[in-house]
């Protein structure tokens, strides 16, 4: 029997007509009742149905060549992360060394997309990754709580970019969002967006990507996650990111599914593609593959690249490498067979 290949969703996605013009988006950017009305007019999310769909996607069985492909893809989508108070230049340098060569037995194998650090260590990462093609991502804007003034946030972003960050992971003001003050959240994202643009001018041709962390664990409802996703995209986010990793729950499959629906619908409405980063709590290859299946069957294959989907994780790489060795060798190696950092 020949297996049927499913039609990809891409053709369908492209056929959706843009329904938000540039002028519409400018209107929303002025904030106030227009923005509030738009966000509150987004379709609701039914919790039971959403979680049921995520659970169904998690039952996909990814084997053999598909598994090897998925693991390599997941490695290439990693933002290898260290965000500890105890981080030192030495720790960051060894993380960067691992990013350059995650598996010494497979020197041509995939490498993480970025190394993600605090802003004061961005320069260390920049130097350690020089010439590797691996990006430096820096958290900023009073990470993880974001409880500081917009001026301080913008200043911190500027410093991170000066220190060599290619990507900035900002946090939104969850307090303002939950208080219904969408204008403040929007304004901060737009200001950071501008700071990223200034960084580009200062640093030449370098493009600085803005990832906006929603901290979904503090937004609590899926309706909020959908609204915050649109808010961030309208304000200019290149990526929307689930979590800081400092709040539980961090990334979950249902939350990521809502965000993938949001980027899919946003592109359909505006023509602009936005990426998604699932961060925190993803530790196993099995988990990572479930996310990739969800990307594939929700946003579509256009998002299946490090350009449009990322994992924020510190320990995930270990299991990805061990599972990858298993697909090659047939057995699952002990933890000491992969380098620790």
């Amino acid at each position: 029997m020949t297996l049927t290949r499913p039609q990809t969703g891409r053709d369908r996605l492209n056929s959706l007509r843009p329904s938000l013009s540039a002028a519409d988006i400018d209107d929303l950017a002025r904030g106030g009742p227009a923005l509030r009305g738009f966000l509150r007019g987004l379709p609701g999310v039914d919790q039971v149905g959403l979680e049921g769909r995520a659970a169904a996607l998690a039952t996909r069985s990814i084997k053999a060549t598909a598994k090897s492909f998925a693991i390599d893809l997941a490695i290439s989508m990693l933002d290898l992360t260290t965000l500890e108070g105890a981080d030192t230049p030495g720790k960051v340098r060894s993380l960067c060394a691992r990013a350059r060569c995650p598996d010494p037995d497979r020197p041509d194998g995939p490498r993480p997309a970025a190394v993600c650090v605090y802003p004061d260590l961005a320069a260390v990462a920049r130097a350690a990754l020089a010439g590797s093609g691996i990006a430096v991502a820096s958290v900023a804007t009073g990470f993880p709580s974001g409880r500081t003034s917009v001026d301080v946030k913008v200043q911190e972003v500027a410093e991170a970019i000066d220190a060599g960050a290619d990507e900035v992971d900002m946090v939104i003001d969850r307090g303002a969002f939950l208080a219904g003050d969408y204008d403040t959240v929007f304004g901060e994202i737009a200001a950071v967006r501008q700071a990223c643009a200034r960084g580009i001018e200062a640093g030449g041709a370098r493009s600085v990507h803005l990832k906006v962390i929603l901290e979904t664990g503090e937004l609590a409802t899926y309706d909020h996650v959908r609204q915050a996703s649109w808010l961030a995209m309208l304000a200019g986010a290149d990526f929307i990111k689930t979590s800081t990793g400092k709040v539980s729950p961090a990334a979950t499959l249902p939350v990521t599914l809502v965000m993938l629906e949001a980027v899919r619908d946003f592109r359909a409405s505006t023509g602009r593609q936005v990426g998604v980063k699932a961060a925190g709590g993803i530790r196993t290859s099995k988990d990572a593959i479930r996310y990739l299946v969800t990307v594939n069957e929700t946003a579509g294959p256009d998002w299946l690249t490090p350009r449009w989907f990322r994992f924020g994780a510190s320990s995930l790489l270990d299991d990805l490498l061990r599972q990858r060795m298993r697909t090659d060798s047939g057995h699952y190696v002990g933890a000491d067979y992969v380098t620790m950092d």
């Binding site: 039914d46 039971v48 149905g49 769909r53 084997k63 598909a66 299946l304």
Partner: protein, 497 residues
């Protein structure tokens, strides 16, 4: 930028569940009086609908065989099962439930091979729900005095049960579990295209040391079923299947003392309002009509969508349908498996052709069907009106008819404008509207913001030509018990024909 920056297709490699988990015998007999015996009718073949290959030869029960089975059931009822305390019957039901769980993979694989349904569904829905029905009813067996049927309700005696091919093991459990819990013994006839899991269940009855004759399985086609339901010593007839056959059963048993429950066809409306949680509504539409290839009596085969969001909902639905994987039922990633029989496939094709001829617009995602086996692509008809046959007749396949409405009143009127009345779905974020709709929809089950959800504690059954009586829950017990003096029958419970 690396080469991985270019999106690549994530092709899922085949992930077949192992056929080696089941041992299909070449020939099967009847299960009567606790033993497998030969049938005296002309044996028939059951085929794998995904490959069209013969799986086994199965005995046909003649009228004489059916009579033997009813006698065995009567003897078991009089001597063992009827007098047995409920707490003791419960132990057997719990044991059956546990064995169903222990042998879940084997049952799921066998179900998918014989029926054509995807292993994902037989593994995650059919078999777990079948076990759940036995667990649930095991709990009732010693508490029947609290079922609202008087302090000491009595079993009816021998139940003759005829089940369809769409959920072979699950329908078996819907029939056998409540009957046994209430102290009845049963003679069950599985559908002729899907007898294998019922015959495996017969082995499970042996494994559980169920007293001989409590469960009897007779295989065969329509004649066997007719012999069973018209047998004078059968006290109760329970049937799930087509309205046409249900009607003839009702005629057959009219004027006798037999109690009857009928669970028949449907043409359910799945109603999507503009304020629905649209992504979940699309999932619910897909689940409503493409679950089990649409071989579901309560399938949401008529999509009623508020006109103002019609285009958006259809666009999203088409996009979602493009991700459905049609193919090998045993592949763990298959969403839509094989149509159960060549006959059913022909019916689906015929009615779909009628839909086109009547002027509805037909759409299916690009999908390559396997060369062998009975397959049908998921199909959407838009521009359908109430007058079209595809909006009125039960297609029993993966074919969805889309109609529009403007107001809640119009939605109710269109939803109820069918001779059937088994189920309905309502999608809206407005709680008050859900309650308003549910009070007006003439359907036995109304799902709100979900579809095709089943639970043994929830009564299931229809209005109008979708049948009478309820299965599951406290109400379902009434179909297998004679109330004791002072006991009232719960609303909608078994009807005397």
């Amino acid at each position: 930028m690396t080469e991985l920056d270019v999106a690549q297709e994530f092709a899922y490699a085949p992930a077949p569940e192992s056929r080696a988990l089941v041992r299909i015998r070449d020939e099967y007999g009847l299960f009567i009086g606790g033993e497998f015996v030969e049938g005296t009718g002309e044996p028939f073949a059951t085929v794998d609908p995904a490959t069209e290959e013969r799986l086994a030869t199965v005995a046909t029960a003649s009228a004489a065989d059916v009579d033997r089975a009813v006698q065995a059931a009567r003897a078991a009822h009089n001597r063992v099962w009827g007098p047995m305390p409920g707490a003791e019957r419960a132990k057997y039901l719990f044991r059956l439930a546990r064995i169903l769980q222990e042998r879940a993979r084997e049952l799921a694989v066998l179900e998918s091979i014989d029926n054509g349904k995807p292993i994902r569904e037989s593994r995650d829905v059919d078999v777990p729900l079948a076990a759940a029905h036995f667990f649930y009813h095991a709990g009732w067996a010693d508490k029947l005095g609290y079922a609202g049927l008087g302090a000491d309700p009595k079993p009816l005696g021998v139940a003759g049960q005829v089940i369809p091919w769409n959920f072979p093991l699950l329908m078996l459990s819907w029939k056998i579990a409540p009957a046994l819990a209430c102290g009845n013994t049963v003679v069950l006839k599985p559908a002729e295209t899907t007898p294998l899991t019922a015959l495996l269940f017969a082995e499970i009855c042996q494994q559980a040391d169920l007293p001989a004759g409590v469960v009897n399985i007779v295989t065969g086609a329509g004649d066997t079923g007719r012999s069973l339901i018209s047998h004078p010593d059968v006290d109760k007839v329970a049937f799930t299947g087509s309205t046409e056959v249900g009607r003839s059963i009702a005629q057959t048993v009219a004027g006798t003392s037999k109690k009857v429950t009928l669970e028949l066809g449907g043409k359910a409306a799945n109603i999507v309002f503009a304020d629905s949680p649209v992504d979940q509504a699309v999932e619910g539409i897909v689940n409503g009509i493409f679950f089990n290839q649409g071989h579901v009596c309560c399938a949401g085969s008529r999509l009623l969508v508020e006109e103002s969001v019609h285009d958006e909902v259809i666009e999203r639905l088409q996009q979602r349908m493009g991700t459905l994987r049609v193919g090998d039922p045993l592949d763990k990633n298959t969403d839509i498996g094989a149509i159960n029989s060549a006959e059913q496939l022909a019916k689906i094709r015929r009615l779909s052709a009628v839909g086109e001829a009547e002027g509805a617009q037909r759409w299916s995602p690009a999908c390559q069907l396997p060369e062998r086996g009975y397959f049908f692509a998921p199909t959407l008809f838009t521009g359908v009106s109430q007058a079209h046959r595809i909006a009125r007749e039960e297609i029993f396949g993966p074919v969805l008819s889309v109609l529009t409405f403007r107001t809640p009143d119009e939605a109710v009127a269109k939803a109820n404008n069918t001779p059937y009345g088994l189920s309905a779905g309502v999608w809206t974020e407005k709680g008050s509207r859900i309650l308003w709709m549910a009070a007006r929809l003439k359907a036995g089950v109304v799902w709100a913001n979900t579809f095709n959800r089943f639970d043994p504690a929830s009564p299931f059954g229809g209005y109008k030509e979708s049948g009478y009586g309820r299965e599951g829950g406290r109400h379902g017990l009434a179909g297998y018990l004679r109330p004791s003096p002072g006991g009232a029958s719960p609303a909608g419970a078994g009807v005397r024909a």
